[in-house]
Amino acid sequence: MGKEERELYTFTRSKELFARAVEVIPWGIYGHMSPTLQVPGSFPYYTASAKGCRYTDVDGNEFIDYMCAYGPMILGHNYAPVEEAAAAQQAAANCTNHPAPVMVELAEYLVDLIPVADWAFFAKNGGDVTTYSLLVARAHTGRKKVIMVNKHYHGVAPWCTSLGHGGITPEDHLNMLHVEWNDLEGFETLVKKHRGEIAAFIAQPYHHITYGKQELPAEGYWQGIEKICREEGIVLILDDVRTGFRLHLGGSNEYFGFKPDLICFCKAIANGHPISACVGRKELMNSASKVLYTGSFWMSAAPMAAALATLKTLKETNGVEKIKRAGTMLMEGLEKLGAQYGLEIETSGTPGLPFMHFKDDPDYFLQQTFCAEVTRRGSFFHPHHNWFISTAHEDKDIQETLNHAEAALRAIKNKM
C-alpha cells in the first residue's frame, strides 16, 4: 500500500453503526440515503457534524459536500440567520393548537416572490405536495387521469412508485399515463387519445434522473406543453421540489420561460428545516379549498420561520448567481481534468445541480470507481444522483475538490 493509499478515508465506525442498524431497521438506512445507491465501503454512512459546505462523518472524516442533504442545504449547513430565526420561533411557539402568524407571512412572501403564485399551501415533504397538486387538479377539472414523464421522480406515493416495489399494485397506476421527456408530439398524441379525461400534466423542469445524463428541455418544449394544456383545460404542474430556488427564485419555470398552474417546492425552501409548499394560480384556489389534506406537523411554525429566513437571504445575497458561479467552476474544472488525463468527462444539468459522467462508460463502472476515489479523498461525489451546490461553496472549496478529483484520476490511470 502506497502513502496516498494509506491516507484515504476509512469508515470503521460507520460500518459498526450500520451493523447495529440492520438488526433493528429495515435496509439499515432506507430510501434515497441507502448505501446501496453509492459504493458501500467507500462512502460514509453516518454524519457527526456539519457546517457550511462541509460535514464530518462518525469516523472523523471531513467532506466537502456536493449532495447538500440531497438538496435542502442551499445556504450551507447550520447557516446562522436561518437557525436563529427557527430557534426564536421554536422558543415562542412551534407545535400548538393553531398555526403561528409566520404561516401567513410566509404565504405572503411566496406570493410576492413567485410570479405565478397567488396562494400557498404547506406540508412537510416533496411527496406531500406533489400528491396534493394532483388532488387539486382533479378537484378543479373533475377528471381522473394524469400524465407524467417516464423516470421523473415525484416521491414515493403509490401513484408515482414503479411497479415491482413492495406493496405497489397495477390499480395504483390506473389513472397514470406516461410520456417520454422532451416528446412534445407524444404528449399531444396522448392528450388527443384521452381528450377530456386528463386532469394534469406533472413534470420536473428538466430531466434530472438518477442513473443518467441530465437533459434540459428542447427549445419550445415547455411553451408547447403550456399551449396544449391551456387549450385542453389540463392543469400544468411543475415539480420543482429538487430544483426549486437553485435556478431562479421565482420558480424554475421562470428560468425556462413558461407559466405552470401549480408549483411544488420542498428541499431548499428552508435550508434543512422540514417544510414543503405548493403554490398556485388564483383560478385554482377555490378548487384547492375543496381538498381535505393535512398532517400532524404541517402547521409547525419553526420550519416556516426558517423558510422565510432562507428565502430572504437567497434574495438579498443573490444566492442563485453565487451557486451558478461555483457550479460552473466545478463543471468546467472536471471537464478540463478529464481531458488532461485522457478520460473524457461530460457534465450535464445546471450549475446548481450539476452531474458528470465519463464518455465511454455506459454502465457506470468507471463513474463508481472515480466517485469512490474522490469521496475517500474528502469530496462527497455521489456516483448516480445529480449533485447540489450551495452558496457556502467558495472558490477555494471547489479548487480543493478539483485537487481531489485530479488525485483520483491519477490513481485510476495508474491502475489501468
Binding site: 460500518k15 450500520f18 451493523a19 442498524a21 440492520v22 429495515p26 435496509w27 439499515g28 438506512i29 432506507y30 441507502s34 448505501p35 446501496t36 445507491l37 459504493v39 458501500p40 465501503g41 454512512y45 414503479s162 411497479l163 415491482g164 416495489h165 413492495g166 397495477p170 442513473y211 455506459p362 454502465d363 457506470y364 463502472f365 463508481q368 448516480h384
Partner: protein, 257 residues
C-alpha cells in the same frame, strides 16, 4: 394458486428446475450410475406440447433442452399445469401419461421418479446436507442456476411482470459468488435470456461475499439493502438493470416458496 400462476409454476418446473438434472448428474455418482445404461430422450410436456423440456440420457450424461425437441423417444404428457406441479412437488402419486413408445421404456420410467427426486433433495436440502461443505456448495450452485433460469421464465410468462419487463434496460446481469459459481440473466429488446457461468460481458454485477450470504438470499432470508450496505453483497455497474430485475426475483421467490 390461480390457474394463470399454476401455468407459470409449471413453466418454472420444466424450464428452470428440470434442466438442473444436468448439473446433478454431473455432480452425483449415484445418479450417473442410475442412468448409465439409458440411451433415450424423454420429453416432459403439458398437454398440447407447450411448455416442454426434453432430457437426453447418454452414458450417464444428462442434457436438458428447454422448449423440447422434435421426435423424442418418450413423451410424458401432463394433463394440466396443476397436475404437473403436484408431480414436481411430490404431492401426487399418479404419473404422467407416457406415449405409446414410452411403454417400451417402463423400467426407466419407474426409475425416473428416483432420479427426479434428487431435484427436491438438493433444491430443498435437509439440515444434514447443508452441514457438509461440499453438498452445501452444490446446493447454492444449483439454486443460483434455478434463480437465473427462473427469472427469465417469470419475466416472460407472468402477466403481472409485463410492465416491469417493458421498462427493463438492455444488458446482462452477472450474479456470482466470490470463489464460487456464477450465472447470468440478460435483456435484449425486452427479451430475456439466462445461462450458467459468468457473462461474456456483464453490464451489472451482483457479487456475494460468500456461500452463506448467497444461500440466505436464495432462501429469501436476507435484506438485500442491508447486505449491500454491510458489504456482504457488492453491486457494480448498471444498477438500474439490477433494480429492474429485482422485482422478478421477488416474484420468483413467491412461486418457489
Amino acid at each position: 394458486m390461480e390457474n394463470a400462476n399454476q401455468n407459470v409454476l409449471a413453466r418454472l418446473h420444466l424450464g428452470a428446475i428440470l434442466p438442473l438434472l444436468e448439473d446433478i448428474a454431473a455432480f452425483e455418482q449415484q445418479v450417473r450410475e442410475a442412468v448409465k445404461d439409458w440411451n433415450v430422450t424423454l420429453q416432459f410436456q403439458l398437454s398440447g406440447g407447450d411448455p416442454a423440456t426434453a432430457l437426453t440420457f447418454k452414458q450417464g450424461v444428462v442434457k436438458a433442452f428447454p422448449g423440447g425437441v422434435k421426435g423424442p423417444k418418450v413423451t410424458l404428457t401432463f394433463k394440466d399445469a396443476r397436475f404437473l406441479n403436484e408431480v414436481f412437488q411430490g404431492q401426487s402419486k399418479k404419473s404422467p401419461r407416457p406415449g405409446l413408445l414410452g411403454l417400451f421404456h417402463l423400467k426407466k420410467l419407474l426409475a425416473l421418479d428416483k432420479v427426479l427426486g434428487r431435484l427436491e433433495y438438493y433444491l430443498r436440502p435437509s439440515e444434514e446436507l447443508l452441514q457438509n461443505p461440499e453438498t452445501f456448495a452444490f446446493c447454492v450452485h444449483l439454486n443460483l442456476y434455478a434463480l437465473a433460469f427462473g427469472v427469465k421464465i417469470v419475466g416472460e410468462h407472468d402477466p403481472e411482470m409485463e410492465p416491469v419487463v417493458d421498462h427493463l434496460p438492455d444488458g446482462v446481469l452477472e450474479v456470482r459468488i466470490v470463489d464460487g459459481p456464477a450465472a447470468h440473466v440478460g435483456v435484449r429488446q425486452g427479451q430475456l435470456f439466462a445461462g450458467r457461468g459468468p457473462a461474456e460481458k456483464a453490464n451489472a454485477i451482483l457479487e456475494f461475499a460468500d456461500l452463506d450470504t448467497a444461500w440466505a438470499l436464495l432462501q429469501g432470508r436476507l435484506d438485500i439493502y442491508a447486505a449491500v450496505g454491510g458489504e456482504r453483497i457488492s453491486i457494480r455497474g448498471n444498477v438500474p438493470l439490477l433494480d429492474g430485475i429485482n422485482p422478478l426475483l421477488d416474484r420468483l421467490s413467491m412461486y418457489l416458496a
